[in-house]
């Protein structure tokens, strides 16, 4: 026994409560402690994950009550993969922003507490096996998100944060309604218990609960008509937080939708619905991305588009499709943070953060520009980088399910993607530098974290076998609903 999944929530909470006190002792501790916590949890998560792959899912009870009476955490190959991924990204983002606001103690203290809680909330969403508990973690995640969006306390960031707050409150309301509906029908809140009893629910209630869930979580997962908050929040939040949103928060939202549609309810047509919503999201977002003239907004729309692609892949519904979706998720979780992290250094000193100001920076910030270009090439799916394998597996999954229209649309949208990403890369390398732009050299810790991400993208591109076996395990664990129910309900 290396440790238990509860530590993923308990330790960061303890750290978050401790940080204000540690600040009285030595101010630097406020920065160091979150890093130590995240590193410890990352190691724990890797070791637990290798244990889970051999010995099967760990179900952790809380309060000494067996499910369905108590709350439980489920560390399966699927949730474990996401937890490890999130913790890895969180550590990278911490390393990147280690020097963040180092002149001002109060805000930096709050920043690290909120960043830690943003990660904890997302991990809690993934690990928990109880829908109300998931709701609580969603609250933790989104409140940290609102605060971090408004972190620069300007007029625009306040507007972005308020937008996010309104949408987020709407999302909580829908989720709560869904939970109330389910409880009123089945008298239980445990996911496995709901999954085993869902057929007892009257169909109209089942559909309504599913719709509420998808609307509620769709706001966090940036599905098309519900993603109005995302571009503003991404562009107004500090750079590393944009990376955290695209790498961690959105993944938690997608996880929740997938858990509800795959495990909780068997509603006919929900898969087709996912494909449809995913396609609309993909097309609309990429069309919007090509019109943007600010770099972070462009990245935000591209992130929304990628989430649409992930939903389409999940909606294919075969194991191959789920595998492709997970591959896309991992891929996006590595590339988009790299783009955000390097992109925010490229526009570090500008007030407008527009694409125009990137012109010619390839000469002045060679490594940062190179990493940005690498990310751009990877995300559009050029071989031999990791994005290619993800997109290829998705297309072949679609081909095996005879979804010709999907393939056509995805390929067409990819061209759009290539256009707007290469437009930026072209500007970086082949344009003359704007005169009023002062390039800012990244600090060492930021450079290291970007290089780690870049190396991973190249490594996965050349050796996709590094992760495919894990992804296969994860997709099997997601598809096997019976085993999930049995694992949870037979525990304790």
């Amino acid at each position: 026994m290396v440790g238990s999944p509860i530590l993923f929530v308990a330790v960061p909470l303890l750290a978050a409560f401790l940080i204000p006190l540690l600040g009285f002792i030595w101010k630097e501790l406020v920065r160091i402690v979150p890093g130590i916590v995240l590193l410890y949890l990352l190691i724990l998560s890797v070791s637990l994950y290798s244990q889970v792959l051999q010995e099967g899912t760990i179900v952790e009870q809380i309060g000494g009550w067996a499910p369905p009476w108590g709350i439980n955490l489920v560390f399966s190959p699927f949730t474990g993969l996401l937890t490890t991924l999130m913790l890895f990204l969180a550590f990278i983002i911490w390393m990147y922003s280690y020097r963040f606001k180092n002149v001002d103690f109060e805000p930096s203290k709050k920043y690290f507490i909120l960043l830690l809680m943003l990660v904890t909330g997302s991990i809690g969403i993934v690990l928990t096996g109880d829908i109300f508990n998931q709701f609580v973690f969603i609250e933790i995640m989104s409140i940290s998100g609102y605060a971090l969006t408004a972190f620069y306390t300007g007029r625009d960031s306040a507007e972005a944060s308020f937008k996010y707050l309104l949408m987020g409150s709407l999302s909580s309301m829908f989720l709560l309604l869904a939970i109330i509906l389910i409880y009123s029908q089945l008298g239980t809140l445990n996911m496995a218990d709901i999954a085993s009893k869902a057929h007892l629910m009257r169909p109209e209630f089942r559909v309504l609960a599913l719709v509420f869930f998808i609307v509620g979580m769709g706001i966090e997962a940036e599905i098309f008509p519900l993603n109005g908050w995302a571009p503003d929040a991404y562009s107004q939040a500090p750079g590393p937080i944009g990376a955290a949103f695209s790498g961690i928060v959105v993944k938690a939202g997608i996880y929740s939708i997938i858990r509800v549609t795959f495990t909780l309810f068997d509603v006919e047509g929900s898969m087709q619905f996912l494909v449809l919503m995913g396609m609309i999201t993909l097309v609309v977002a990429e069309m919007a991305a090509i019109k943007q003239n600010k770099i972070k907004r462009m990245l935000a729309y591209s992130s929304i588009g990628q989430m649409g692609l992930v939903l389409v892949a999940f909606g294919i519904g075969t194991e191959e499709g789920v595998f492709a979706a997970l591959f896309l998720m991992v891929n996006h979780a590595l590339i988009k943070p790299l783009l955000f992290l390097s992109g925010s250094y490229l526009v570090f000193n500008s007030t407008e953060k527009s694409i125009r100001e990137l012109s010619g920076l390839g000469k002045y910030l060679p490594l940062t520009s190179f990493l940005f270009a690498l990310g751009a090439i990877a995300i559009v799916g050029m071989p031999p980088l990791s994005g290619f394998w993800a997109k290829w597996s998705m297309l072949s999954a679609a081909a095996n399910s005879d979804m010709i229209l999907v393939i056509g649309l995805v390929l067409m949208v990819s061209i759009v993607e290539i256009v707007y990403y290469f437009r930026v890369v072209n500007r970086i390398y082949f344009f003359k530098k704007e005169e009023d732009v002062e390039p800012k050299k990244p600090t060492l810790n930021a450079m290291v974290s970007m290089i780690v991400l870049g190396v991973l993208i190249v490594a996965i591109g050349f050796y996709p076998d590094l992760i495919t076996s894990y992804l296969h395990e994860a997709s099997e664990s997601l598809m096997d609903k019976g085993k999930y129910i049995q694992d949870v309900l037979s525990a304790g």
Binding site: F17, I62, G63, G64, I71, L114, V136, E204, L208
Partner: protein
């Protein structure tokens, strides 16, 4: 002309109107469907027989010796949720402190500037200890009577609100508030981890449960509720204090 964040002009009164009508229509359709489903959910009727409720109703008083079943559910059966809710409050104060950091007035210079009358000032001095006492009573007796940590903590915070409104120069030390809320949070988490060490699961009850209806009963429940009371009291006081000292 106003610009929105994408830089496009907000214009075209006519399309706006069409949009509004469309949205309204969509809302009506959605509302009718929703109402139809929700009205078929007859209120108060029992839909399920084998849910978790009976387990809670029997285990609460029998095993945990807690007469207030709601408290048993909140703090014991679903104690993990409560830890999460406490964190949500903690985050709200942290967020507010972080965002309003630069906009804080010096002590004594506040948004509410009119002086209170003699009656309010004298009366609040008498009421303040009574309110604090009531708050403490509510969260200490959380497992016996209605109420608990959240309610008690809120009552304590209203006491401080009264003092802050009555006296312009009344101050609460931010450092003390931080220490109280941090210690309360740490205690809650450490109690949970103790359960993991002494028993086998997080937040498991490892204390003797005593007899039903005694003040010292229910194992960990009163301790957790007292901690929650302190935390909620300190946090809400901090929120009120920050909001009152905000520059406009």
């Amino acid at each position: 002309m106003k610009m929105n964040m994408t830089g496009r002009k907000i214009n075209n009164y006519k399309t706006d109107k069409v949009k509004k009508v469309l949205v309204l229509l969509l809302l009506v359709v959605f509302g009718v469907y929703l109402a139809d489903v929700l009205f078929s959910l007859e209120f108060g009727k029992q839909f399920f027989t084998d849910g978790v409720k009976d387990f809670y109703l029997t285990k609460g008083p029998m095993d945990l010796k807690v007469s207030n079943t709601i408290t048993a559910i909140i703090v014991n059966f679903r104690g993990f949720d409560t830890l999460g809710e406490v964190t949500v409050l903690f985050l709200a104060t942290t967020a507010m402190g972080g965002i309003l950091y630069k906009k804080r007035h010096k002590v004594g210079a506040r948004t509410v500037l009119f002086p209170s009358s003699q009656i309010v000032m004298a009366g609040s001095k008498i009421l303040f200890p009574a309110i604090i006492l009531l708050g403490i009573y509510v969260f200490v007796h959380g497992h016996l009577t209605p109420g608990g940590g959240f309610q008690g903590g809120t009552i304590v915070a209203t006491g401080f609100l009264l003092m802050l409104l009555a006296y312009q120069d009344y101050t609460v030390s931010h450092k003390v508030l931080t220490i109280v809320e941090s210690f309360a949070g740490i205690t809650f988490t450490v109690i949970g981890l103790m359960g993991l060490i002494k028993g086998s699961t997080f937040l498991e009850n490892f204390m003797p449960v005593g007899t039903l209806n005694n003040l010292f009963s229910g194992g960990l429940i009163p301790i957790i509720y007292i901690v929650v009371g302190f935390k909620v009291g300190a946090e809400l006081t901090g929120l009120i204090y920050t909001a009152l000292h905000e520059k406009d």
